[in-house]
Symmetry: C2
Subunit: 304 residues, 2 copies
């Protein structure tokens, strides 16, 4: 089934213990749409960039299955820019620069040709903008998945809570789940957050894997133990892209299907961290993805 992805398309400048980049393409929707297109064949993007965004990078996204009809280009403005530096343990980072630029007044337009999308992925953005996209769909999609960040909990909690109430699946990391719920225990946090609306909650724990909560059930998918994490930027977005891409491809939103989708999301994220930015994501074969998923099967399977 067709998939709509909304979120930032941006420039990132990244420094890790392994090196640093100049401005490279990044942004939640970039990772999500490129990653999900491995599953859907074509992912429909709603985003905004400035006139400084290279046309070649838009072509690159198109080549990787991203429909950019819904990508607004504000010729006289600048693209969203984020710069960050990771600490030695790769689990924490300092934000060096955040320039909202075109995102400051982003008014998301959903093209007519996207209106039949059954799957909607709300990548990290201002929650009021995420909500506008839901409202601008003629028909509510079959499944709405939302990612967000602590940033919005700090400055826009009221808006965030309103949007969370409208989605089916929320994906956040462990610290954000604690902040959003006021509970340290992730089990208690999950219960409180599901009371806010989402029937499904995914708590991402980075190198410690991901938890999927639904009613009385809980599923855990480990992260693949890697020799090196080269650059974690975009790993959570790539996870989301694999997750919703898998669901949209199979058009099955049962709990069993969601478990598989979490595994596929984790597998795609394990590629993402192997190189800077989207570098590894634009270079994958179907057999590499199958082999990677098989490593998750081997890692987690036991019989009693």
């Amino acid at each position: 089934m067709s998939l709509l992805v909304v979120g930032s398309v941006a420039f990132d400048a990244i420094e890790t213990p392994f090196g640093k980049t100049d401005k490279i393409i990044g942004g939640a929707a970039t990772f999500i749409s490129i990653c999900s297109a491995y599953f859907t064949g074509r992912s429909n993007l709603v985003a905004v960039v400035g006139g400084d965004f290279p046309k070649d990078d838009i072509k690159l996204m198109e080549k990787h299955g991203v429909n950019t009809e819904g990508l607004q280009i504000k010729e006289d403005e600048k693209s969203f820019f984020w710069s960050g530096k990771y600490h030695n343990d790769m689990n924490s980072r300092d934000t060096l620069v955040t320039e909202l630029n075109v995102l400051e007044n982003f008014d998301p337009v959903v093209p007519e040709s996207y209106q039949d999308c059954e799957y909607l992925m709300l990548g990290n953005l201002a929650p009021q903008v995420q909500r506008l996209v839901i409202e601008r769909m003629n028909k509510r999609p079959k499944l709405v998945v939302m990612d967000t960040m602590n940033f919005w909990m700090d400055i826009a909690m009221e808006e965030l809570v309103k949007t969370i109430a409208m989605v089916d699946v929320l994906t956040i990391n462990d610290e954000e789940a604690r902040q959003l719920s006021g509970e340290y225990s992730l089990v208690k946090a999950a219960a409180k957050i599901r009371e806010m609306g989402p029937k499904y909650l995914i708590i991402k724990k980075g190198e410690h894997g991901a938890l999927l909560f639904h009613e009385e059930e809980v599923f855990f998918c480990p992260a693949l133990p890697l020799e090196e994490v080269f650059d974690p930027t975009g790993a959570g977005d790539t996870f989301a892209g694999g997750f919703i891409g898998y669901l949209a491809k199979h058009d099955d939103v049962s709990f069993e299907s969601m478990k598989r989708a979490v595994v596929y999301g984790s597998a795609m994220a394990s590629f993402c961290v192997e190189r800077f930015g989207t570098e590894r994501l634009i270079d994958l074969s179907d057999s590499e993805i199958s082999e990677r998923v098989q490593r998750f099967v081997n890692l987690a399977t036991f019989t009693i």
Copy 2:
């Protein structure tokens, strides 16, 4: 098959955000032997206590399947005492008191009736004492599992490395694996540590689960997501007790069996943290254990 357990039998005084205890029974070998006896029926203990150790507690251990023939009682000395206080996140703790007492000159004696033990669990102790136990077995056991701590890496690295070279399975936590190997990546750390001798390495990550490494294979078992961790003291020892107890019961040291043993160890540890000290461990039914293991199956199982 029969199992020999060596380690400390001691007093603990514990403070957590949920409360504090007076001196209660603790010690690595206490947790390991009580836990493993659920699988083996009877676990053979080698340890030392002072005259201050209550005879009733020794009877309690006997009642729970611990053979205390190898428990030395130094009537004129005092038992090992440890006191600690957990921080709010339960992941870190301060040691308030460590009194080695009888452990200072512990000379482990292996009773003749223990000499046929095929499984040997070396609970956390001075590495030279752990080694003495291996040397005092007439015949090398079929499987030797060793647990240790950062404490010995700080003060007795040379002795520790000698003992590690003699064992089949080493269990340590993630920070200790990093300290022992000098590698931050657990994959790299595991490779280096296995070069030191052990064919199998288990890296315990507390609430983040456990990894089992062997040759090119790696298995991950999650920790059960719990509403509350009441007291983590002894969780690692309980894990070790469930792990070796399962292996000894089934007398199967294949990788598939070790994976199941890691799941059983994790299930037993999930009970341990529900109350103070050994309280929960002396109160378990077989059906509770089976149900708990089933929760791990539900938590980790997916089909692709």
